[in-house]
Amino acid sequence: MTEPTSGTRSYLFADQVFPVLRIILLAIVTLVQTVLCGVPLLANHDVYDPAWVADAAFVVLALVGAACAPWVLRGRPLPAAVALPGTAVSLLAAAAATWTVPPDLHFSEVDWSFGLVGWHLFLLLAERVAVLIAALCLHVVISLGLFVVPGPPDRGAVGSGMIFLVSIIAFQFAVVVVVWVLHRRAERVGELAAERDRLRTGQALAEQRRLDHRQRFAGQLGATLPLLAGMADGTLDLRAPGTLQRVTLAATQLRRLFAENDDVPDPLVHELSACVDVAERRGLDVSLGVSGETVPVPTAIRRELTGPVITALSLARSRAKVTLLRAADDVRVAVVADSGTIDSATSGSHGTVVAWYSHGQHTRMEARWRPEPIRLT
């Protein structure tokens, strides 16, 4: 069985309460028809005119109940294709049955169909309260019409008829109110359940994001934590150039990491700006040039592209130029800095190629990415 979704507004009542209600209604219909209607019909069989119409109406109403049984017993709501024709057939059968009752015996126990059809309508229209009320009203109007049309009834018949009518109708309309309240509750419960589901989904997403952040930070903090430990226990010489460079590298990595979590329209430029910002704080003269229109670059690739920038900037002595060029299918990030001589090298991963080149006191680092994998040369 599938888990109920927030889109099913009233699934709790629809799934749990209404199947039970429908079974109770089917039982009531069966019991009322067999005992409270079948007995008077047989007992007063010669009163009905013609009797075969009353018999036929009784059979038709029994068949309507039987037709509903397969859905009711399986706990399913009745489809409209059964409920609406069933309603019309029940109302016609009831009208036919009432028509066979002699005028002076309307709204008495001889008029067996009047109370019975109300239960049929409940069974057929439990999920359609507005149609149910309309059908019940129509049923009352038809019955009253058949009561009045043959001629003005005498006062005694009117009095006893009204008592019969009100006692049955009041009870059935009270049941209508109960069904309506159940529907309202079902909707409210459905809304609350949907809201709860939304909250749970939000919580799950937030938790997932938190884990992602933790995982990402843990991965990126790898270089920082030993550095902090070394500084804390005094094993690192803070005046050594190597230590300074490691600290610079770690600081830029952290700053880039924070920038990675910002929601900005152009993340790559934002992250490069963060790297430049840290280098400038270190006293470096850095310029950033950006050309070409923005292209989407996945986070993992952005890390591949900005990682070497951080390294190149940490090696720069006084001046560096950082550039980002975005052509049609090519993203190129470069740093040219006065880093002294560095061995030329080319490496690559995840579709990016990083190349280092030195000439005189200047070093050029270029990290290049194409959506298509490129061949190392």
């Binding site: 060029l325 040219v336 080149y357 000439h359």
Partner: protein, 221 residues
């Protein structure tokens, strides 16, 4: 306006809404080799049309004269009158830079670029030659417009390396060519751009100059 043939008495008019910028540009130009004399300056483009400003060899034009809208109309009118214009702007906007070239500006520099680029651009303009500073090279390399000319892979690499390093010597070493060849490539790229888009007398002069210098042949047109 006839092209310069001798390096003496180069003149410029500077249009910029900041007096300090005008003073700084005048100083840089006067310190160049050969020196360029600023014969007129002002915050309004009218100084380029009146008096000595109307006769200056080169117009250094700030694109944002006291407002957010770039003075592209002023640039177009100056170019249509045959003036050699070097655009000097606060904005590092590729689209605007390419638009200025299309209108017929001989160079487009951002104010973040060093004095040497401005002086070189003014010198080149006085001889009807283009000058491509690094930021403009970036804009050309990142140009994805449909009417961009076809560049050879070597030309593209020169643009990219020049944008990245700002050192022609470094570019020449990287690509294994002479520094003068780097200049030739940059100039040839600009000639290709001058042959696209709208017509302008400065663009025609630029192409004529390239033929005269033997940079391109008539067959290349």
């Amino acid at each position: 306006m006839a092209p310069r043939t001798d390096p003496a008495d180069l003149t410029a008019v500077v249009v910029d809404d900041h007096p300090a910028v005008r003073a700084g540009v005048a100083y840089w130009l006067s310190a160049g080799v050969p020196p360029v004399t600023m014969v007129a300056e002002g915050e309004d483009v009218r100084v380029a049309w009146l008096g000595e400003g109307a006769e200056a060899d080169v117009v250094v034009l700030d694109l944002n004269l006291g407002g957010p809208v770039p003075a592209l109309g002023d640039l177009r009118r100056l170019v249509e009158a045959g003036r050699r214009v070097v655009v000097y702007s606060m904005r590092a906007d590729d689209g605007i830079a390419l638009q200025c070239l299309d209108l017929g500006a001989l160079s487009y520099l951002t104010k973040a670029e060093s004095a040497s680029h401005l002086v070189e651009a003014v010198h080149a303009a006085a001889w009807d030659k283009p000058y491509t500073p690094p930021s403009l090279a970036g804009a050309l390399a990142g140009d994805r417009s449909e009417r961009r000319p076809t560049l050879s892979s070597r030309e593209t690499e020169v643009l990219v390396e020049w944008f990245q390093s700002e050192s022609k010597e470094f570019v020449a070493h990287r690509l294994g060519i002479a520094a003068s060849t780097v200049n030739s490539h940059l100039e040839r790229i600009r000639i290709k751009y001058a042959q696209t888009g709208r017509e302008a007398s400065t663009k025609a002069a630029l192409v004529a100059r390239a033929i005269q210098d033997g940079l391109i042949g008539v067959d290349d047109l």
